[in-house]
């Protein structure tokens, strides 16, 4: 209800209503900063020209600057995270709409598939997939997308089931719209809010899983500076007291996941009161 009202407000009013409800400045600015550094990461840091303060956050066992690797790592995490969430979201939302609106055997098939898929242990399965298809950023996106679509399918299907009974959908049927048009024009826009909320919450899960896969050596392949890989590298020097190689990449993961979770929680309350119980 809140969401549909906000949708009709002009942008400025909407922004001010955001602020009055305690807009989550901190998570948004952390995510914003990470996206900013991810976009502009192809410029070398200015302080690298200086002599002694060449490595602002130290260097690793190969003499590579930790700070710039962290910054480039943000790019990997953000690109992989966002695209994987998008792949999972498109797949899950599409199947959820089909299953909820068409019903019948389509519903049965999709939901049994979803249940079966949900029962499989996500991380182990992702590791297996990665071991079979080999490590690359593209493969990680596909793997994470194909492991995590089920959560969307479940939630979206539930929403569609109740939307289907609403007057505007019935009116569209009476007016002679095809099933495809109804799903595209009338159902999809109404489930987008939930999909976005879920997507924000999934971003955290996906980033952690990507880091775990990279840490185990089946994620992003080595020369790339992914945070999980940096942690795996840092583990070697940990006993010798090179603490920054372990602490810093983990901090980046934590801040990113924390921001995504906070933003997701806030969006959930803001956009969709029904999802508060989730």
């Amino acid at each position: 209800m809140n969401g549909s009202r906000a949708a009709t407000l002009p942008i400025a009013r909407r922004l001010s209503s955001f602020r009055s409800d305690g807009f989550p400045m901190i998570p948004v600015s952390i995510l914003g900063l990470l996206i900013f550094v991810a976009v502009f990461a192809n410029r070398p840091p200015v302080w690298q020209q200086g002599g002694s303060e060449k490595f602002l956050l130290g260097s690793d066992h190969l003499g590579r600057d930790v700070l710039s690797r962290l910054i480039f790592g943000a790019r990997v995490s953000i690109v992989v995270g966002f695209t994987a969430v998008l792949v999972a979201g498109v797949l899950g939302t599409g199947l959820g709409i089909l299953s909820g609106y068409l019903g019948g055997w389509v519903d049965q098939v999709i939901m049994r598939l979803t249940d079966a898929w949900l029962a499989l242990p996500a991380l182990t399965f992702a590791i297996f997939l990665a071991a079979v298809v080999g490590p690359s950023e593209m493969n990680i996106v596909i793997i994470l997308g194909s492991v995590y679509w089920t959560r969307y399918a479940r939630v979206i299907r539930g929403e569609v089931l109740s939307l289907k009974e609403r007057d505007f959908v019935r009116l569209a049927i009476v007016a002679g719209c095809s099933k495809r048009t109804i799903m595209k024009r009338h159902i999809l826009p109404n489930v987008l809010n939930s999909a976005i909320v879920l997507g924000t919450l999934m971003l955290g899960v996906v980033v952690v899983t990507e880091a775990a896969l990279s840490f185990l050596g089946v994620g992003v392949p080595p020369p790339k500076p992914a945070w999980g890989l940096m942690l795996a590298d840092g583990k070697k020097g940990m006993m010798a007291g090179y603490w920054w190689l372990t602490v810093l990449p983990g901090c980046c993961i934590m801040f990113m996941v924390l921001s995504a979770n906070l933003l997701g929680d806030w969006l959930r309350v803001k956009l969709d009161p029904q999802l508060r119980q989730l």
Partner: protein
């Protein structure tokens, strides 16, 4: 009741079939399976022998039948690295994994349930906010990083605990904490919401109206009922823990199933990877089935609902 159980068993069966089909197809369709099934550096003759043995030149459904029948017979192949049947290897690692999971579970319940109850009883007060921060941190910190930080602090800096390996109770402390951390937050969240539900129910109101002291209302009437969903989740989480432990076990060199999976990947020991995934998946499916059935036995509303 019988119908409900049959239905759940049917769903579990579908899950298992889907698991085997997916794994089978992925191995066959993403390239030449002989490359995965044969040892690295094997000769052309060895590859031919493997092709013969697995019937890789025959139609795909014949291959699938072969695959399933050997699964059912418990033949999951031989490890390239350890030179033993994979099933034996898996079973020899299982106790360590279960021990770690049990310790992590105990830790997560000891932390999660009391904090959840306090948060629910003092809802929207200081304790509740502290609980929310704790839950958020628990869900946001990757377990392997928590493990690494623990090693840094307790092994490298303080030198109190061994950084890796197993054998004594001291070895168990850090892995159990790192693994249980996330679950403690999840259990805290669920305890809180379940406790809030129960505290708003009629029988708790009645207990209060009767004039029972608040401690008794919470301890006896509310607590017991609020615990049911938490314990159900804990049952499933115990198996999930065995699965998620792969990263924590790698960090602490804990000799469990997760470590076995990691070794399988690191040594390109494909039969080990495949068998671990199949057995772990089957374990999750079977335990969720048991929990579902147990839950239906306890709560008639579940088995009667369609």
């Amino acid at each position: 009741m019988k119908r409900y159980i049959l239905k759940r068993v049917g769903f579990a069966g579908i899950s298992l079939v889907l698991l085997s089909v997916t794994i089978f197809l992925l191995v066959r369709l993403t390239g030449d399976p002989t490359v995965l099934l044969v040892e690295p550096g094997a000769s052309q003759a060895d590859m031919e022998a493997i092709r013969q043995q697995f019937g890789l030149d025959r139609p795909i459904w014949v291959q699938y039948g072969h695959f399933v029948s050997s699964l059912v017979r418990g033949d999951l192949g031989h490890s390239f690295y350890y030179r033993t049947p994979v099933l034996e290897l898996y079973l020899s690692r299982l106790p360590s994994s279960l021990m770690l999971a049990a310790a992590a579970m105990a830790f997560s319940l000891v932390i999660g349930i009391p904090t959840g109850i306090i948060a629910a009883v003092r809802v929207n007060q200081w304790w509740d906010s502290a609980g929310k921060v704790f839950a958020l941190l628990g869900l946001s910190l990757p377990s392997f990083w928590v493990g690494l930080l623990l090693i840094l602090f307790f092994s490298v800096y303080l030198g109190w605990l061994p950084s890796s390996g197993s054998g004594t109770a001291a070895h168990l402390v850090m892995p159990a904490f790192a693994l249980g951390w996330y679950f403690a937050a999840a259990h805290m969240r669920l305890t809180r919401s379940s406790m809030l539900d129960v505290l708003g129910s009629e029988y708790v109101k009645l207990a209060r109206l009767k004039g029972l002291p608040e401690a008794l209302v919470i301890g006896k009437h509310a607590f017991k009922n609020a615990l049911i969903p938490v314990l159900t989740l804990a049952g499933i989480n115990l198996v999930i823990m065995v699965n998620v432990a792969v990263v924590v076990e790698t960090v602490f060199a804990w000799p469990g199933i997760g470590r076995l999976l990691y070794e399988g990947i690191a040594f390109r020991d494909f039969p080990v990877v495949q068998a671990t995934v199949i057995l772990n998946g089957a374990m999750v499916v079977v335990v969720s089935l048991l929990v579902d059935i147990l839950y239906a036995v306890i709560d008639p509303r579940i088995r009667l609902a369609r």
